[in-house]
């Protein structure tokens, strides 16, 4: 017990003295959150869109169109005297989309280079065109549709799902690098060899490293979550018990994955690079930044096989953004916990094994 306490103290000191590790564990997720929060916050939100209008003043129903655009909930409407002005305003991004009505034809103008946002703008223009078409003939749509959000938490933008995804990614990185970065570095610098000639058991060292990592990852996810709530005024319904269980189980499980990497690479120093490459591939494939539903079927299948996909989904679940069956939640936690526990003896053997040179 005394050994473990000493090792715990050492690990805390190591961690707090290593500014790079501190930065990447605690501050890096925050940079991601701020970056993507501002980048994605208003993307595709028509309430923030501005519409440029060019309407022939003597065109029939011109006023009706202006009223309909006003009622669509866009942020601003800007009037233009001719088509050239309207096109210039769109190209210069003074307005997001344009509508032109000459009494017979309704033309919608989009900036061809705004590929990420045009889908939302097209939906907006399509809705206005349908309503305008009916309004001109004083017809009222007999079938009305009321959209009802089925979830418990109001989702303002895709970023509401990205934030828990980033938290999951930082857990994955921290877990992977705990073994493939920290332990392999200790091995390479022969620190492990020196420790092993003392009465210390390898499991005590591993327990100390794992315990400190788990605590720090837990704190890091909390900071990230609170910054997201404070800066972006987001609301989450956190199930704290499940949150704690999941963060601990999944971080432990990803440490197991780090063990596999450490065992497979020839040189300890390569483990960090391999872990970095794996984390980056997973980041783009696991639906952290782009919805998995956007992917073709074969990519979706690959995505489902990745631990980060499940980590992001469960993190969304425990923060109340995504519903999930209890069975799936506990099964995911159990899988990560078992993976961590099963690989722990392997990790212990890795620690005592002389490094390959």
């Amino acid at each position: 017990m005394k050994t473990l306490r000493a090792l715990l103290t050492t690990e805390i000191r190591n961690f707090t003295r290593d500014w790079a590790m501190l930065f990447f564990t605690l501050l890096f997720p925050l940079i991601f959150i701020l970056l993507f929060g501002f980048l994605m916050g208003g993307m595709g939100d028509i309430r923030q869109a501005s519409v440029g209008l060019h309407v022939d003043s003597d065109a029939i129903s011109a006023e009706q169109l202006t009223d309909l655009v006003s009622a669509s909930g866009v942020r601003a409407i800007q009037m233009y005297d001719d088509e050239a002005q309207l096109q210039t305003a769109i190209a210069d991004r003074v307005v997001d989309l344009g509508l032109q009505w000459n009494g017979e034809r309704l033309r919608a103008f989009y900036d061809a280079s705004r590929l990420q946002e045009n889908f939302a703008f097209q939906q907006l223009a399509g809705g206005i065109a349908t309503d305008f078409d009916l309004a001109r003939q004083q017809a009222i749509a007999p079938i009305q549709v009321e959209r009802i959000h089925a979830g418990d938490v109001e989702i303002r933008s895709w970023f509401h799902l990205v934030l828990p995804g980033i938290m999951a990614f930082s857990m994955l990185s921290a877990g992977l690098f705990a073994v493939s970065g920290h332990l392999t570095q200790m091995k390479e610098r022969s620190v492990l060899d020196r420790l092993l000639v003392t009465p210390m058991r390898p499991t005590a060292l591993l327990s100390a490293i794992a315990a400190i990592r788990l605590i720090i990852v837990f704190i890091s996810t909390l900071i990230t979550l609170f910054v997201g709530v404070l800066v972006f005024d987001m609301r989450f319904e956190v199930n704290w018990l499940r949150y704690a269980v999941f963060v601990l189980c999944s971080t432990f499980g990803t440490m197991g994955l780090g063990t596999v990497i450490a065992l497979l690479v020839k040189r300890p120093s390569s483990a960090g690079n391999v872990a970095n490459a794996i984390a980056m591939v997973m980041m783009f494939m696991a639906g952290v930044y782009f919805p998995v539903e956007f992917m073709p079927q074969f990519l979706r299948t690959i995505s489902r096989a990745m631990p980060l996909t499940h980590m992001a989904d469960v993190m969304r679940h425990v923060t109340g953004v995504l519903e999930m069956s209890s069975l799936r939640f506990w099964l995911t936690c159990l899988t990560f916990a078992v993976a961590g526990m099963a690989l722990f003896p392997l990790l212990a053997r890795y620690v005592v094994k002389p490094s390959r040179r």
Partner: protein
């Protein structure tokens, strides 16, 4: 000259032999280009989309000639295999006899768990209410469309269902004599900034960004890593006991680096052109100049980081910190127009923003947005100058004794 060429060759061979280098310079950009094109190149193409939709008809008592039955039959028809399509747009889940509250509850749970894209509920009395609305001229009882804002699939499915219902509305109004189809407005779409007035293919938009990203990571990690690790491991020290001096080493290194960039560009361009059907060309003199300027700017930036870092690990840490913010705050993958002022300041200081805009302009996929055309060249040149001055003053070419 021979020694410079040999140094360039050594740089290329080392980079290709190193698996990590190979991954970041060649495999990762190729992976990213492939994934992004496969994901965003197919968005909104309906034949590739398939939804799971539920229908709850609470107005089954109105009979088979009712509006409720009409909506139901059209949705059933759409869920049947179509003659020209491989799969129908959606699979329709519905209870045989309308729908009980427990069925709706179960479907709502499925929707929240992502197993359904949307649920359409036809409320009881829907048919009678539409008839009443015809008589009174008002709107009928609304259909309830349950969807999840947390799912893009659900958003898309809801939009498609709304479009379908708008079509049904028009049909009902035409048949009721309340809408003249010959008087309907003519709708047209215009794509600003495209010569052929067509929507820009995603590959044309993303290819210049990935090429630039490749050059950027090449400069940021490749230059910093090679210079600092070679210095700290005393590889450079061995060079200095030969007739090779720093300027000759630099010339060889720069030549090798540019050759690596050319190799990377060739691979990405071929993939974009021949696999994903990119229509843009990079043969224009201005485009070629901008590609060269990009490679040189990022190489100089790599030297800048090497100069301000004490050790190789510190250099790589700085590169890692700068990598994501500089890439994402340039408009490579996400629009940057709506960013707050403090973030726009980073965008305007970021050389990647200028080079990206210049490159996209020169290949004809983007009109000027952020800055005048001259700045897309002048600012990167300024960065090269600043980096060169800092590197010449601060970069140590040998380990401290």
């Amino acid at each position: 000259m021979k020694d410079i060429l040999q140094l360039a060759r050594a740089h290329i061979v080392t980079a290709i032999r190193e698996r990590v280098t190979l991954f970041w310079f060649l495999i990762f950009p190729v992976f990213l280009l492939t994934v992004l094109t496969l994901i965003f190149g197919q968005v909104n193409q309906e034949p590739t989309i398939h939804f799971e939709i539920s229908l709850v008809n609470e107005d089954i008592a109105s009979g088979t000639d009712s509006f409720s039955a009409l909506v139901e039959s059209i949705l059933v028809q759409m869920s049947m295999p179509q003659p020209n399509a491989e799969t129908p747009l959606f699979t329709l889940h519905r209870a045989l006899h309308g729908g009980s509250p427990s069925f709706l509850e179960a479907e709502l749970t499925a929707l929240r768990r992502g197993d359904r894209a949307a649920i359409l509920v036809i409320p009881e009395g829907f048919h009678q209410d539409i008839l009443a609305s015809f008589a009174g001229g008002g709107a009928g009882l609304a259909l309830r469309l349950y969807m999840s804002e947390a799912s893009i699939t659900s958003e898309t499915a809801a939009s498609i269902l709304e479009q379908t219902l708008a079509g049904i509305n028009r049909e009902i109004l035409v048949r009721g004599g309340m809408y003249d189809d010959t008087e309907s407005i003519e709708a047209e779409t215009v794509w600003v900034g495209q010569a052929e007035d067509q929507e820009l293919p995603y590959i044309d938009f993303v290819l210049p960004a990935i090429v630039l990203m490749g050059f950027f990571t090449n400069g940021l990690f490749g230059v910093t890593g090679t210079i600092l690790f070679n210095r700290d491991r005393k590889v450079l020290q061995r060079y200095w006991v030969t007739p090779v001096n720093v300027p000759r080493y630099l010339a060889g290194f720069a030549l090798g680096h540019l050759a690596l960039c050319a190799l990377q560009f060739g691979l990405l361009f071929s993939l974009g052109k021949f696999v994903f059907g990119a229509t843009i060309g990079f043969g224009d003199p201005l485009t070629l100049f901008l590609l060269l300027l990009s490679a040189v700017t990022f190489m100089a930036f790599g030297f800048f980081i090497s100069a301000v870092s004490k050790t190789a690990n510190a250099g790589m840490a700085i590169a890692n910190i700068l990598n994501m913010p500089m890439m994402f705050l340039s408009g490579m993958f996400f629009p940057i127009a709506g960013l707050p002022a403090f973030m726009l300041a980073i965008v305007y200081a970021n050389p990647v923003s200028y080079l990206l805009e210049g490159l996209r302009r020169s290949v004809g996929v983007q009109a000027g947005t952020l800055m005048p055309a001259q700045l897309t060249i002048l600012v990167p040149l300024g960065w090269i100058l600043v980096s060169a001055v800092v590197a010449s003053r601060k970069l140590r070419w040998d380990v401290e004794r």
